[in-house]
Amino acid sequence: MKKTLSFFLAALLCVLLFGCALQTPITLGEEHLLPSDGIVSEATLSALKTQRKVLTLRGTADGFDYTWTLFGEEIETPKDCNFSLRSIKANKKTITLKFASKEPFGFSPLLTLFLPQRLHADVAAVYRASVQESNFVCAASVTVGDSGGAVSFAVDDPTGTYVIVPQKTQAEFAAPAEEDADDAPSVSAEPTATAAQENTTAPAVTVAAATTREVQRTSAAKTTTPATTAKQPTAKTTAPAAAPVTTTTTTTTAPASESAAKGGECTFSVECATIFQHLDALAPGKLDALPSDGVILAAQSVSFSAGESVFDVLQRVCRENKIPMEASFVPLYHSAYVEGIHNLYEFDCGEGSGWMYRVNGWYPNYGCSRYMLKDGDTVEFRYTCDLGADVGGRNDYTIDDSID
């Protein structure tokens, strides 16, 4: 008895006292307005570093609002930094940014740029100086803010000009990073395509539907699915997105049929940038789990075998990258339900928060283990703080419900 007791105690002591780091959990600092000259002093940054706080700075340039989110623990050598933006120019195709800072920050704070209107895009690519494949910096995540759209990405080096190109789906955009670049449409061709679509004054919903249909057509051509999909009349604006509908008479939104499932490659990413707009609602202690650039898993190509669902791939990718992921099976939906990825769980950032998945720019209205992957699919897991409205996932419900 005594032995068991002492063993139990000793084991517990070892694990708890030597296993834990003596560090204050990351806490949220208050939101500040960026000073008029944009310079944040070394003292502020070093205080941020030692207190392990997260600071939000709010600024305005050329009529655009923007915020910086600074993680204190990311700062290596504190120094005076100029965070103001000298100019922001936006046209239909691109957003051009110029920073006031002449030297790198030494860490990568997250910049969120608020736009007056919702972007008709799923993702944005960030380039240095000019839109060229070789100048590609990173992908920016596109979210829907309170008053319009928002684009957020981590800025590593603020010198020079940044060009943000909103794009429809990640399938085209992810191409430069991969070997099969010639297979997908090139990036420089993309803006003209968007411009052509934006010339029509159609509401956002129909534009989104049109693109998903286009993606579907290209993927259908690639995987040689039955021609019924490709032959859909263009007047039908309610495209059922990625899932090829083999029998058009069915009223239920059935997941992709087995015949369509073949092994192949898909682009996979996990991000949670929308949390940065709701940092005050984040559950205490969860700031430690939040990646400073909002990207948990950068877009990467993943191969899958026939009959694998989105959930199977998520589970495998998370295991390979050592990302903790918890899911449970919900008999009601006959699907797996993703409760949390990277220790960010449902309800952690407000009542309407949780994980959603998007395939080729569309949020399927059924569980992720019922979506059978097709070759060339772009799968994104995105964290929402507002039941999908902030990541552009709410309108798709109405589109899908009106399928006939």
Binding site: F8, L12, L16, G19, Q23, G285, Q315, K322, E326, N343
Partner: protein, 290 residues
């Protein structure tokens, strides 16, 4: 082994033996858990020696271990993945630690309550609460007494009966005894209530005799307890006992305030033992002169 009746005022005993488990129930900091567990074990050892400790540990330790193991099966939060469970969810170091901590918390609280039952008698409770709410105090003391009394009576009835051979017959006899004891208990409860009623229990203007007297020592003890519990509460509110189990095991880097807070909590956990030692002192002194 029954500890002899304590002379300390019931209010002090009640305050000490209920405020400490109260803190122990909510503080999840590993150091707090350890202090509370050590305090409880020491106190129980003072009250009933090794046997009492083993007796309490026999039930509390498996319960604590069960809590620790079950937590790993249902809680998958944490950043350090150890292995994957058959269901596909990860088993993490953090959930393991949280389970162990929850187990230790349970163990500490169970030990504290077994100390409580040894120290606080039904007489203490009726004295403390009969003026506030006589009916509740009576009900509470009767409830507290019920199980030990039931057990005792069951033994008495069993002793009075011959044990028949064969399992069915044994079971039948046991059930008969059980029914008899149950009827006895019900009848006795009714009798007690009637008897108390007949004596005018709970009537206005009726005074109750009590053997307890508040001395200056009791006042000092009560004051000390209030100071310690108050400062521990302040430390809780200001987050000095904060510890994060998920997503990562994180404790605040120790500052002088933290050291003070833990010192206060250690004193609070040792307070019941201090009361018991103080109680023993005159006994020890008088013993040595004989």
């Amino acid at each position: 082994m029954q500890h002899r009746e304590l002379t300390v005022h019931p209010l002090v005993l009640f305050g000490a033996f209920f405020s400490v488990p109260g803190f122990a129930m909510f503080l999840m900091h590993p150091l707090c858990l350890l202090l509370s567990f050590c305090g409880a074990a020491w106190c129980l050892a003072c009250l009933g020696g090794k046997e009492a400790l083993f007796q309490a540990g026999r039930f509390a330790l498996p319960a604590a271990l069960l809590a620790a193991v079950l937590n790993v099966l249902f809680n998958h939060r944490g950043a350090t993945i150890l292995f994957y469970l058959p269901g596909g969810n990860p088993c993490t170091l953090e959930s393991l630690c949280y389970g162990a901590a929850a187990g230790l918390l349970l163990l500490g609280v169970l030990l504290w309550f077994s100390c409580c039952t040894k120290v606080l008698t039904t007489e203490h409770f009726t004295y403390l609460f009969s003026r506030v709410s006589p009916a509740t105090a009576l009900l509470f003391s009767m409830t507290l007494r019920f199980l030990p009394q039931f057990h005792r009576r069951f033994q008495q009835v069993r002793q009075a009966q011959t044990t028949p051979a064969g399992l069915p017959a044994k079971l039948k006899s046991a059930f008969a005894s059980f029914g008899a004891v149950l009827a006895w208990a019900l009848e006795h409860a009714g009798d007690t209530a009637d008897s108390m009623n007949a004596r005018g229990y709970g009537m206005r203007g009726r005074t109750t005799f009590s053997i307890y007297r508040k001395t200056s020592r009791d006042r000092m003890l009560l004051f000390g307890l209030l100071v310690l519990a108050g400062s521990a509460l302040c430390a809780c509110v200001t987050g000095l006992f904060r510890f994060s189990y998920a997503p990562r095991l994180l404790a605040d880097a120790p500052t002088p305030q933290h050291i003070c807070a833990f010192f206060v909590y250690a004193l609070l956990c040792a307070y019941p033992v201090m009361i018991l030692k103080l109680e023993d002192r005159p006994w020890r002194c008088s013993k040595s002169t004989v």
